[in-house]
Each structure stands twice: as structure tokens, then as C-alpha cells.
């Protein structure tokens, strides 16, 4: 941001050497806490995520490139608020929160309200984000993240995050969010709501994919036409959900 002259801060505070911020913890109820210094690479290699949080586990290896993942962080990505950011979609689909700390104490901000626009978040000037929180699942969590990129490390042509919780053969909670197809991360809430309350079926999946595609606000650019990106959203939403349908059948 500084190199591109988008930002010219008078002072920068490096938090990299602060202790106690690189945690990735799971509470007994399933709530996840991701510290501000927990790197993408740590999330990618995390057995905890591989076991308990499939959407995050799917997204971690797709963030930027392996070298960048050694330094970059999930919380940093949320704060950066790039409409192309992978984690913002993942966290929006999970109903995630940002924990901010300032002189007046701590407060949590839902990720969906955290981003104000491209590269803008709602942190006060005297606050820093210390943690991201994924609320406890309402059942067994399932999900996925798919991203189309021209090469590793490029901005997404389009990306889709899907997170659902299932209990007793029914979807108890659902979130779908879209990467890189609008001025900020798009929560496809209508598409997600359609899934809640019943079992996953091919018909519901088709309708949800259509609603997700309609929620996208893509622009034609060198990565593809608007209609192509919309189609990618449709296909990715359907592909992730169809895979979840298959695993449900296997599990049963």
C-alpha cells in the first residue's frame, strides 16, 4: 500500500515481535480464535483446521503463494480489506468476528460489518485487531473454498467460500461469500438462507448457485468478462455444495 502510494502513514508500528498474538486455539464448544500474528502458513499446516474447520483448511493453501504465506496473516488480510482477499470471504461465510482492542477495552465486530469498502475497515484510529473469531458451529461443520486464478499468487478471477453446519441430516446454518467479484467481499446471504432448514438436495444446490451468481457484481477486465465470472461463481458454488452432498451420503 505504501509502495503504491495508496497510503502514506506518518508512523508505522510493527507488531511482529509482540508475544502472545500468534495463537490458533479451539474452545471446547468449537469456537476458534486466530491471533493477529498467526501466519497463513501456520493455518495451512494446521491439523486443528484440517480436522475441525474445512472451509478455512481449503482456503489456507490458496492464499497468495507459499513464500508470502510465511509472513502474511489472516487478521492482516481482514484489516487490509482488499475485495480480492480470500480470508474475508471465508470469515464472512463462517459468520466470523474481529476482536479489536483499544484504550477503552475490547469489542468484537462481525466481519460483514468490519469492511467499509476497498482497503477500508471500521477500526478506530486508536484500535488494533488482535484476533479473529469463528463462532461455535451449530452441528457438524462442512464447507469448501474454490478460487480461480491465472497463476499462483495472482488476484482471484473469482472465488467462492461456502460454510454449512449440519445436524440430523438438515442444514442448521449456512454462509456463502464471494471473492473478487465486486467492490468488496460479497455475502450471498439469500443463497445461503435457501440452504437452511432442510437437507442438501441437487435442486436446492442449483437454486443456491443461481442466487450466488446473481449476488455477484463482477466487472469485465483482463481476467475475464463479467458474465464469465458470474458463471464461475455459479459453478464453484454448485461444485462445493455437490461435494458436501456426496460426503453426507458417504457419512450416512
Amino acid at each position: 500500500m505504501i509502495k503504491l502510494r495508496f497510503a502514506a502513514p506518518e508512523m508505522l508500528v510493527d507488531i511482529n515481535d509482540l508475544p502472545g498474538l500468534d495463537h490458533l486455539q479451539r474452545e471446547d464448544d468449537g469456537t476458534l480464535h486466530i491471533g493477529a500474528l498467526c501466519r497463513h502458513g501456520a493455518l495451512e499446516r494446521s491439523a486443528l483446521l484440517a480436522t475441525h474447520q474445512p472451509t478455512m483448511a481449503a482456503a489456507a493453501p490458496l492464499v497468495a503463494d507459499p513464500i508470502v504465506r510465511n509472513r502474511g496473516t489472516l487478521v492482516g488480510s481482514l484489516c487490509h480489506a482488499d475485495p480480492q482477499g480470500d480470508w474475508a470471504s471465508v470469515m464472512a461465510s463462517l459468520g466470523g468476528l474481529v476482536l479489536a482492542q483499544g484504550p477503552k477495552g475490547r469489542r468484537t465486530i462481525p466481519v460483514k460489518e468490519f469492511v467499509r469498502g476497498p482497503f477500508q475497515n471500521t477500526l478506530a484510529t486508536d484500535e488494533i485487531a488482535v484476533e479473529a473469531i469463528v463462532p461455535a458451529p451449530q452441528g457438524v461443520p462442512a464447507g469448501g473454498y474454490l478460487k480461480l486464478e491465472r497463476r499462483v499468487g495472482d488476484f482471484a478471477t473469482a472465488g467462492v467460500a461456502v460454510s454449512i453446519d449440519r445436524s440430523g441430516g438438515k442444514v442448521t446454518r449456512a454462509g456463502i461469500a464471494l471473492t473478487g467479484v465486486g467492490g468488496s467481499t460479497i455475502a450471498a446471504d439469500e443463497a445461503a438462507q435457501l440452504l437452511v432448514g432442510g437437507p442438501l438436495t441437487a435442486e436446492v444446490i442449483g437454486e443456491a448457485a443461481e442466487l450466488a451468481a446473481q449476488a455477484a457484481q463482477p466487472r469485465t477486465d483482463h481476467r475475464g468478462s463479467a458474465s464469465y465470472k458470474r458463471q464461475v461463481v455459479r459453478v464453484f458454488t454448485s461444485r462445493i455444495l455437490t461435494r458436501l452432498l456426496a460426503t453426507e451420503v458417504e457419512a450416512a
Binding site: 515481535d17 513464500i67 509472513r71 499462483v152
Partner: protein, 173 residues
């Protein structure tokens, strides 16, 4: 102690903030007075004269500036020099002495793992970190590990072979 911007041609010099950094570079403590905005890649190249670290894109894309930071590959064009204060940095010059070759360097020579050579130092440092962690990587694992390093000569086949060669050699040692 080297100073990067010791010649500042005006009274404005007083306004330029400088900080002292001490970095363990290739096993040796090196100190410098630097402006806080100075990038690590530039301190290594212009301050410490370690010009093996290349700056390609300056935007965290190409990976030519890759160095090991506390043992992990990072793109040194996207870190401030002051952030490396008190840390360990290894550049391509740290792989082997001036009259010898590290197995990775030998591998790149044997398998013709370079054409213009611009991406090579970054490729080698990423490979070093890979082989430190995974001494017997598969071809896929090598490609995955090197996916943040771009070769515009597109000599990827031989780069992968070079890393395989180095892995075999290191394994035999």
C-alpha cells in the same frame, strides 16, 4: 557499520529519521544506520553489498529477492530493514564459500537450472528451505514450494530437476 544514506545534500538531513539495526546476516552480525522506510532487499544489496539478492518486481510477485528470515523464505522487498533487527537472515551468498558450491548450486549447474539467472538466487533460497524441511520432496512438492518464484525464461523443468539433483546429493552425504 555501514550507512546507506550518509550523503543527504541539504539541511533536510536533520529531518531524516535513522535507526540502528543489527542483523545476523549469513552467520555474522552486521549493523547499519537506516531510514525506517528502507527495504530489507535494498539494505542487503546496497548497504551490505550482498548483490546476490535480486530485486525483480518490487511488488511481492516474482520472488527474486527471496532470502531466509529465521530459516523461512520471505520476499525481502516486502519487509523493512528495521523489521529484521535482531533476526537471522541468510542470502544466496550464505549457501557456500566463494570457492565452493552448495549442493543446490551444484544442482542448478548440473541440470542447467537457469538461463538468464535473474530468478536463480530466489529459487535457490526457497529450495534450501524446502530441503531443510523435506529432504526428499516429490516433483509436485518442489513445484508447490517454488510456486511463489517466477522464472521468466520459463525454465521450470530444469529448475525442478536441479532441486531433485540437490536432494539426491544431500541425501547421500
Amino acid at each position: 557499520m555501514s550507512s546507506l544514506y550518509e550523503v543527504v545534500p541539504s539541511e533536510a538531513a536533520d529531518d531524516v529519521p535513522v535507526m540502528k539495526v543489527t542483523i545476523r546476516v549469513n552467520g555474522e552480525n552486521r549493523s547499519a544506520m537506516v531510514e525506517p522506510r528502507l527495504l530489507l532487499a535494498h539494505l542487503l544489496r546496497q548497504g551490505f553489498n550482498l548483490t546476490g539478492t535480486h530485486t525483480g518486481c518490487d511488488t511481492t510477485n516474482c520472488g527474486a529477492c527471496t532470502v531466509l528470515f529465521d530459516g523461512q523464505p520471505v520476499k525481502s522487498c516486502t519487509m523493512f530493514a528495521v523489521q529484521a533487527d535482531g533476526h537471522d537472515v541468510m542470502t544466496v551468498e550464505g549457501l557456500a564459500g566463494p570457492s565452493e558450491l552448495h549442493a543446490i548450486q551444484e544442482g542448478f549447474k548440473e541440470e542447467h537450472g537457469l538461463q538468464c539467472g535473474f530468478c536463480t538466487p530466489g529459487m535457490m533460497m526457497t529450495s534450501k528451505a524446502l530441503l531443510d524441511e523435506n529432504p526428499n520432496p516429490t516433483e509436485d512438492e518442489i513445484r508447490w514450494a517454488l510456486s511463489g518464484n517466477l522464472c521468466r525464461c520459463t525454465g521450470y523443468q530444469n529448475i525442478v530437476k536441479a532441486v531433485m539433483w540437490a536432494a539426491t546429493k544431500l541425501d547421500g552425504q
